[in-house]
Each structure stands twice: as structure tokens, then as C-alpha cells.
Symmetry: C2
Subunit: 161 residues, 2 copies
DNA sequence: TATTGTTATACTCTATAACTATA
DNA sequence: TATAGTTATAGAGTATAACAATA
């Protein structure tokens, strides 16, 4: 066991040296995601749930349909249904009818949903800062800026969550 | 449809402004991954297959067991078994017995595996460069450097592929 | 006819547990 | 007893297709 762990670290080192950006991104994303998901789980939801809650929290003034949310977050409408089912069962979201289109349903935060989102936002920000501790504040901003510039803004192929 | 697409872009814009690094990383990783996987698929394998092939290609002198590879790449030994099964079926890898431990098996590249890995390496590098086109060469190196520094080097929780 | 949302279904990825063969 | 690897299996996450209600 000791042996295979040492070997694993060697391979990891080589991967890091090899500057494969896909690998670096996946590894970095994975590390942050695990840390944040653990925190979200401790509060009875998940990182994916919080992403949906946050999208809803930002759009109190202009409510979006499930379809629009799905597009924005990079998931299929059937996946969106499943995500909202969970949130609704937890009492964090309710689906209200769209007055302008009776086919559509507008998911909105409940009071509990708004509270949990706000609380988790703070906690997850702290987790993020902790994960980014090796970087100075300036470097963190550089990282954000560089990432924004390489994110494809067009349509999304496949799921993003 | 037009409407929900427009709404989706608005939400995406808001997410980008919101500087959630987890979201930025996932989105960037997803874009690059899709592009690279499409290229790998065109050559009869996948990005995950190529990651395994590349790990093997870098260790011709010092062969690693399946377990060590799994640790390094962040997957369970059962997942490693499945990945290698596919590669072996495609004739890209063979599992050879470890002379020092008759329980263990050492996966090694076949000639076809070595060739495909080398060819795909070049092609995927081109895809990566294309995806990073918005960044200058200097900026790309900054990005790599920042990512390396926030990747947790300790043990990996859950799958990384 | 086209679209929103749901359900049923299937496929992939993942890990746990049970097993074997070694150590 | 413990470890390397396989198999069986179960749980997520995802997407396609068929459907109901509405546009």
C-alpha cells in the first residue's frame, strides 16, 4: 500500500509537470467541488442544489422558467426537473404557474430556501477562500479573470453540473 | 425557445460576474473536456482512455501496478479495471504479470497504444491551444501555474475523471 | 404544429462488498 | 491477516423518447 501511494504521487507529479490544462482544470475543480459539497451536505443539500438556489436568488425580480434555468446552468430539462423535485421536497423551492404561459412553471425560493442560500453562500465562500489559500488576493482575481475568458459563451454541449 | 435562450445567457452572465471559482472551474473544465473528448472519440477512444494511455506512456522505464495508476489518476481500482478492460479490448494495452508479485498485473502499452497516444497527444494539444486562444502564451502559462498551486496534492476523495 | 414540463427508461460513471489468488 | 485484482451490484447523473397540457 505504502508503495502504490508513493508511485501514485510520482505519477501525479509528472502529470502536473506535463502542463495538460484539461487535467489541471479537472483536478482543481474536483478538489474545490469536494470541499464545497461536503459543506453543503452538512446543511442538508448539495453543491448542485446550491447552484440552483443561487441562480434563483439572483433573479427575484425577473423570474425564469425551468427551461431557461436549465439552459443557463447547462443541464437538460429532465435533469432540471429532478433537481427541482429534490429542492421542493426539502421545502426550499416552490413551483408557481407562469401567468403568461400556462404550460410553464416558475420555480421560486421559499423563505427557508432564501435563508439557506444566503447562509450557504457565506460558508461556501469561506471554503473557497480556504482552497485558494496558496494564492494571494491579486492572484485569485487573475485566476478568475483568466477562467472567465476561456469559458465558451455559446451553447453548452452536455451537462455542466 | 428564443426567449429561454436569451434568459439563459443572462443567467450565465450573472454567474460569470459573480466570481464563484467553483463554477468558473467547472465551466472551463467542461468546455475543454468536451472539445478534447470529441477529438478522442474520432480516433476510437476517449479523453479518459487517453489519460490512462498517457500515464502509461510516461512510465515505460518504471512500470506501475493497476492500483498505483488508480491512485494517481484518482479512480477506484474497480474503475481502473473497467478502463483497462476497454483499452485492452481495443488492443492498446496488455496486462503483464508482475515478476515481483504474482497478485499484481502491470498494464503496458502495445505498439498500437503507443502510436495512438502519441498521435492523440499532438491533436489534443492543438485542441487545447484552440480553446485557450483568448489567452496570450504568457497568460496560458500563468493559468497553468495558478492551477498547479491550488491542486490538493494529498489524497484524493472520490473520482477525478 | 411547436413548446413546457413530466415520466419512463437506458446508459455511463462510480464505489461497496464479496470473492480469488496470492503475500 | 492483508493486499491486488475481478466480478456483481447498486447508486448517482445524464439524456432520449413518449406523453399531457398548452401555445
Amino acid at each position: 500500500m505504502e508503495d502504490s501511494v508513493k508511485a501514485a504521487e510520482e505519477i501525479t507529479q509528472q502529470c502536473l509537470q506535463h502542463s495538460d490544462v484539461n487535467w489541471l482544470l479537472n483536478r482543481a475543480a474536483h478538489g474545490l467541488r469536494e470541499a464545497m459539497d461536503a459543506e453543503a451536505n452538512a446543511h442538508g443539500t448539495s453543491i448542485r442544489g446550491q447552484i440552483v438556489l443561487s441562480a434563483l436568488a439572483q433573479n427575484l425580480g425577473r423570474p425564469y422558467s425551468q427551461l431557461a434555468l436549465g439552459h443557463a446552468l447547462g443541464v437538460d430539462k429532465t435533469t432540471m426537473t429532478a433537481l427541482l423535485d429534490k429542492l421542493e421536497r426539502s421545502g426550499l423551492v416552490v413551483r408557481t404557474p407562469d401567468p403568461h404561459d400556462r404550460r410553464a412553471r416558475i420555480p421560486v425560493l421559499t423563505e427557508a430556501g432564501r435563508e439557506l442560500q444566503a447562509k450557504l453562500y457565506v460558508q461556501l465562500k469561506a471554503v473557497e477562500e480556504h482552497s485558494l489559500a496558496p494564492l494571494s488576493p491579486d492572484e485569485r482575481e487573475v485566476l478568475r479573470s483568466l477562467l472567465r475568458r476561456i469559458i465558451p459563451m455559446q451553447h453548452i454541449e452536455g451537462s455542466c453540473m
